[in-house]
């Protein structure tokens, strides 16, 4: 019964989405309040119904109901409970259901927390949101139904891809989707503003918390995916410029630009149509990401989602939503009133350059991701665009952005005093150079680009802290007074400091683990010792161990430094008999200075297996943990900004100036 209830709930949600696509929009055009208000309840209704469907599917996974084809194909009775639950969104159908659940979650969010948004704008926004859910619900019901049944059921399921049986990856899709789909509401706001023909400071402020929330989730999703790749794939890398990674990175880049341009729209009434365009493009890139992953267009590490027929349907949805919204933009955007003027040296100009660089970087990644496809389509040649292309194009583009990031917060709106700003930052610039020289002295080697990057990362960290210190007048007044000022500072201001400092720290990780990484891939017999980055690693041998649904070859590595025992590492090679596939479980000794990372691969030959010889990969990745620390700060900074009272339009303090109901906007 449960799966059928889920199926029916999904059909009802589709019907509600159809109503919500039309009625509120007609209401807004004709000034009919009842029709406008219907969007509020139907968007919550959609969330409830899709939630029921999602719960039904999850229950089917938990009890291993193999009459549901999706469960039979993607689960197994012996699978650990956590991965049974994660199996709900592990398949194509399930991940789409999660996509739609999050879509309706954001719609219902606007409905519940947007009491102070003007009725017409809210009705139009929710109608646009319903267009998207109509598209995806119909896609699901017509081509990818998660509730398709089979009777009699197979004796047991086909298991979930063992590579995906990992906590990092179990949580990666929900966060990534919260980010991807979170931008849908920003898109809906943008299209609604175009329909309404109006965009102002309040609009920008309504959009900001949603953009920020989506951005924080997307950051978390990308970082979790990267973390999973680092721990699970056994190659010791955290970013491979794989197309599936790129398609999640592009909305992040453009979302970051949107986050900043919305500030200008709010504070200075400028960049209006640019902000709208960014909102449309950011979500379009999210859709592109879904399309690329779900259509099987690209064959990569993520090759488990291959199905070209469904791809056509998404391609149609993609063309309709991107084409439609851009056409609307071309028609309506020129009617937007011009905003506030500013000088070439001002915060606006800084943010404009920030936006241009981020936009260009996004274009570069898009080009590198799609070029091989176009080439294959036109000439039939198969090429791959990998790290060398992106390192040569993307990385140099980011460096001026970092330089600017340190400077930007010192600039004032409209017209900044360049001489004054330079005076404030000269000591920081000097200190950064000194620190870089010290690092150069210690490291004695590595590419020049690494030192330039380190210089900029140090500069960003110092400049960010200096700006924060200036705001609370840390060195001008007593410490207690400064702390009082820090408490009074808006949370978004602390958030910005945290996020900028987080990026600086993450940069240390990016640079350290790329430029100064050492790697040994060797063929070892028991007793062999390998020397790497000052450590002596002795391979003791491999033993066979059993897990709940796998068995594994576990290697034992004794690590010493200058004769002193440091640790013992146990890298594994796991074999999942039911899914007939194997995974690598790397063993890592983590410190702030760097990670000692070990993984074992198959024995090189049968003879080698008999003598106990294995292929061992050992890496030393300096500073790599700064990536995770910096990323955590990025997310925390975003989260802190999200709690800023100023983002809650119509908060109690201002209630006297408006009839708006005091309700938080996020």
């Amino acid at each position: 019964m449960t799966p059928e209830i889920g199926h029916f709930a999904l059909a009802l949600a589709f019907a509600l989405a159809l109503i919500q696509s039309v009625l509120p929009l007609m209401g807004a055009n004709r000034g009919m309040l009842l029709w406008m208000q219907s969007a509020r309840a139907t968007s919550i209704g959609q969330l409830v119904l899709v939630g029921i469907a999602f719960g039904a599917l999850m229950k089917s996974f938990i009890v291993s109901d193999f009459t549901v084809i999706n469960v039979a194909s993607n689960s197994h009775s012996l699978k650990p409970m956590l991965y049974k639950i994660a199996g709900t969104w592990g398949s194509h159908e399930g991940s789409l259901l999660l996509w739609v659940l999050i879509l309706t979650l954001f719609g219902a969010g606007v409905s519940l927390f947007g009491a102070n948004i003007p009725e017409t704008l809210k009705a139009r926004t929710l109608a646009v949101q319903a267009w998207i859910s109509t598209g995806f619900l119909s896609f699901m019901l017509l081509t990818s139904n998660p509730f398709d049944r089979v009777f009699p059921p197979p004796a047991d399921g086909n298991d979930l891809n063992p590579l995906l049986q990992d906590v990092g990856l179990a949580l990666h899709p929900p966060f990534l989707y919260l980010g991807y789909v979170g931008f849908s509401i920003v898109f809906s706001f943008a299209v609604a503003a175009l329909l309404e023909g109006r965009i102002d400071a309040a609009w920008a402020r309504w959009v900001r918390p949603w953009t920020l929330a989506a951005w924080v989730f997307l950051t978390a999703g990308i970082v979790l995916g990267s973390w999973w790749a680092y721990y699970e794939l056994g190659w010791g890398g955290w970013w491979f410029w794989d197309p599936v990674e790129n398609v999640s990175f592009m909305p992040w880049l453009l979302g970051t630009a949107l986050l900043h341009s919305a500030i200008v729209t709010e504070k200075r009434d400028a960049f209006k149509s640019w902000t709208i365009l960014l909102a449309i493009l950011t979500f379009s890139l999210s859709l592109l990401g879904t399309f690329v992953v779900r259509s099987g267009l690209l064959t990569s590490v993520h090759a488990f989602a291959v199905d070209p027929e469904r791809g056509l349907y998404i391609l149609f949805l993609l063309a309709l939503s991107i084409g439609g919204s851009l056409a609307l933009y071309a028609w309506r955007a020129p009617m937007m009133e011009a905003g506030g003027l500013f000088k070439p040296i001002s915060r606006e100009a800084g943010l404009l350059v920030n936006n241009l660089i981020l936009g260009t970087a996004t274009g570069t990644v898009l080009f590198g991701t799609l070029y091989p496809l176009f080439l294959e389509a036109v000439t039939g040649d198969k090429i791959s665009v990998g790290a060398p292309f992106f390192n040569a194009t993307f990385v140099p583009m980011m460096l001026p952005l970092v330089l600017l990031m340190g400077m930007g917060p010192f600039l004032s709106w409209k017209r900044a005093d360049l001489a004054g700003v330079l005076q404030r930052v000269r000591f920081i610039a000097l200190a950064s150079i000194v620190v870089t020289l010290v690092i150069w002295y210690i490291q004695e080697g590595g590419p020049l680009l690494a030192y330039i990057s380190i210089l900029l990362a140090v500069w960003l960290l110092f400049a960010t802290l200096r700006e924060w210190a200036m705001r609370i007048r840390l060195f001008d007044v007593s410490f207690t007074d400064a702390m009082r000022r820090a408490r009074n500072l808006p949370r978004a201001s602390h958030g910005m400091t945290m996020a900028h400092a987080g990026l600086a720290l993450a940069m240390f990780g990016f640079i350290g683990s790329s430029a100064w990484k050492t790697e040994e891939v060797v063929f070892v017999a028991p007793g062999t010792t390998i020397e790497i980055a000052g450590f002596d690693v002795m391979f003791e041998g491999v033993e066979r161990v059993r897990g709940p649904n796998y068995f594994a070859d576990r290697g034992t590595l004794k690590v010493t430094r200058k004769g002193q025992a440091v640790t013992t590492l146990f890298p594994e090679r796991r074999y999942y008999p039911i899914a007939e596939s194997s995974t690598t479980e790397s063993a890592i000794r983590s410190t702030l200075a760097g990670d000692l990372y070990a993984s074992i691969a198959e024995p090189a030959s049968e003879d080698a297996e008999l003598s106990g010889a294995w292929t061992l990969r050992i890496l030393y990745e300096p500073l790599v943990n700064f990536i995770w620390i910096g990323s955590a700060l990025l997310m925390l900074g975003g989260g802190l900004s999200l709690t800023d009272r100023r983002l809650r339009v119509g908060a109690p303090k201002r209630a006297r100036t408006t009839s708006a109901t005091p309700t938080p906007a996020e």
Binding site: L12, I19, Q37, T42, G45, T67, P118, E119
Partner: protein, 391 residues
């Protein structure tokens, strides 16, 4: 039960659409523009920045002037705002509320599978025990046959082959049947079963090896239904659809009354007929429903009326039991289940009659909807259910 939940969900969904009608008067006001609130907040922020010395006095004055100008613009625009209609559109909402369950119900009627109940892994213990038993018995049989001098009895290998076929292990089934096929006591059935296993092992493709087996089966017994059936499949796959169709039809016409092989024949013939653009046929064209097969009919039972009570009871029960046990062995015999249900009904055992009809209902899905047995079963079930309600 499931439909009660669905109705509840449908009502809930419809009520979401009409929800605005429940709104009180105070909600029926368009929320005022909060742009000016944001701008006033910005004014305060400029002041704070000035107090903190982040911006100069001149910068602050310029910023404040600009924000004040924007507040004025907003105020002017708000004054020109259109009035809203607070009451209209009720009928539209009601129509939409009716649309939601109708649309979803229509979709579900086409695409849903309410007849398949949920089956959790934990609830299928008995099935697994049963399956394990079959696997164990098969393993034992295999071990015995292999160890026997002379290669084991042909009956044993045939049984093993059929069991493997049922378990979906077609390659092993082929191996078992091939052992018998290479012996002198191979019959037409041996070759047709071998052909079937070979075809299943290749996902329905008739390989040359399978066709050789089919030809052997037909050589030994030209009337072997399985042989004829797979010959027609082979012909159709080769592109000789007309010949395949004619072959099936002539075999059906030659039949004397109903037999269980006729249903797949009719299905196969209709599939080919569709490609050829010919009219479909139905089973009742070839097999009238009146019980021509041996089994207890109402007449048999009435005839037993001449016997003594004791003899009659035993006679009837033995007939019914024989049929029931035959059906346990061959559960796909639709007409058998209908006859058994009839017999139980005549005996007044309505519970067992009902369950036999239910078994028949499951098999009804495998035949065309125009078949008159749909009507027979439906009518009998309705009568039985009415009786149980009256009781």
């Amino acid at each position: 039960m499931i439909f009660a939940w669905m109705v509840l969900l449908a009502v809930l969904s419809a009520s979401f659409v009409v929800f605005p009608l429940l709104g009180k008067a105070r909600d029926q006001v368009i929320v005022a523009d909060s742009t000016s609130a944001v701008l006033v907040d910005q004014l305060e922020e400029v002041q704070r920045d000035l107090d903190r010395n982040v911006i100069s006095e001149g910068e602050a004055t310029a910023a404040q002037l600009e924000i004040k100008r924007r507040i004025l613009t907003v105020a002017r625009r708000a004054a020109q705002g259109p009035d809203a209609d607070n009451r209209g559109g009720r009928n539209g909402l009601f129509l939409a509320a009716v649309f939601v369950p109708l649309f979803a119900g229509g979709y579900y009627a086409l695409m849903g599978s309410p007849e398949i109940s949920s089956l959790s892994f934990a609830d299928r213990q008995a099935e697994r025990v049963e399956q394990q038993k079959i696997v164990d018995l098969t393993d034992k049989l295999y071990a015995r046959l292999v160890s026997e001098p002379g290669g084991g009895a042909s009956e044993g290998w045939m049984l093993l082959g059929q069991t493997f076929s049922r378990m979906g292990e077609y390659q092993r089934a082929v191996e078992a049947f091939e052992i018998v096929a290479n012996r002198d006591d191979a019959t037409s059935a041996t070759y047709s079963m071998l052909a079937e296993a070979l075809i299943n092992a290749e996902q329905g493709i008739v390989t040359p090896k399978a066709e050789t087996a089919i030809n052997m089966a037909m050589e030994l017994d030209a009337a072997n239904p399985a042989g004829v059936f797979y010959k027609s499949v082979a012909l159709a796959q080769r592109g000789e659809e007309a010949a395949a169709h004619a072959m099936l039809l002539s075999h059906l016409e030659a039949a004397d009354g109903f037999a269980s092989w006729m249903e797949p024949f009719v299905q196969q013939a209709n599939q080919i007929a569709e490609k050829l653009g010919r009219d479909p046929i139905t089973l009742s064209d070839y097999a009238p429903i009146s019980g021509s097969e041996p089994g207890p009919s109402a007449e048999d039972i009435a005839a037993a009326g001449d016997m003594s009570d004791e003899d009659r009871g035993e006679f009837i029960l033995s007939m019914v039991d024989r049929l029931a046990s035959r059906l346990e062995e061959d559960p796909n015999n639709l007409d058998g289940w209908i006859r058994l249900a009839n017999a139980y009904r005549v005996l007044g055992n309505n519970t067992q009659a009902l369950s036999a009809y239910e078994r028949a209902t499951v098999l009804l899905e495998t035949i065309g909807s125009a078949d008159q047995r749909h009507e027979i079963v439906r009518k009998a079930l309705t009568e039985l259910q009415n009786q149980s309600v009256e009781e």
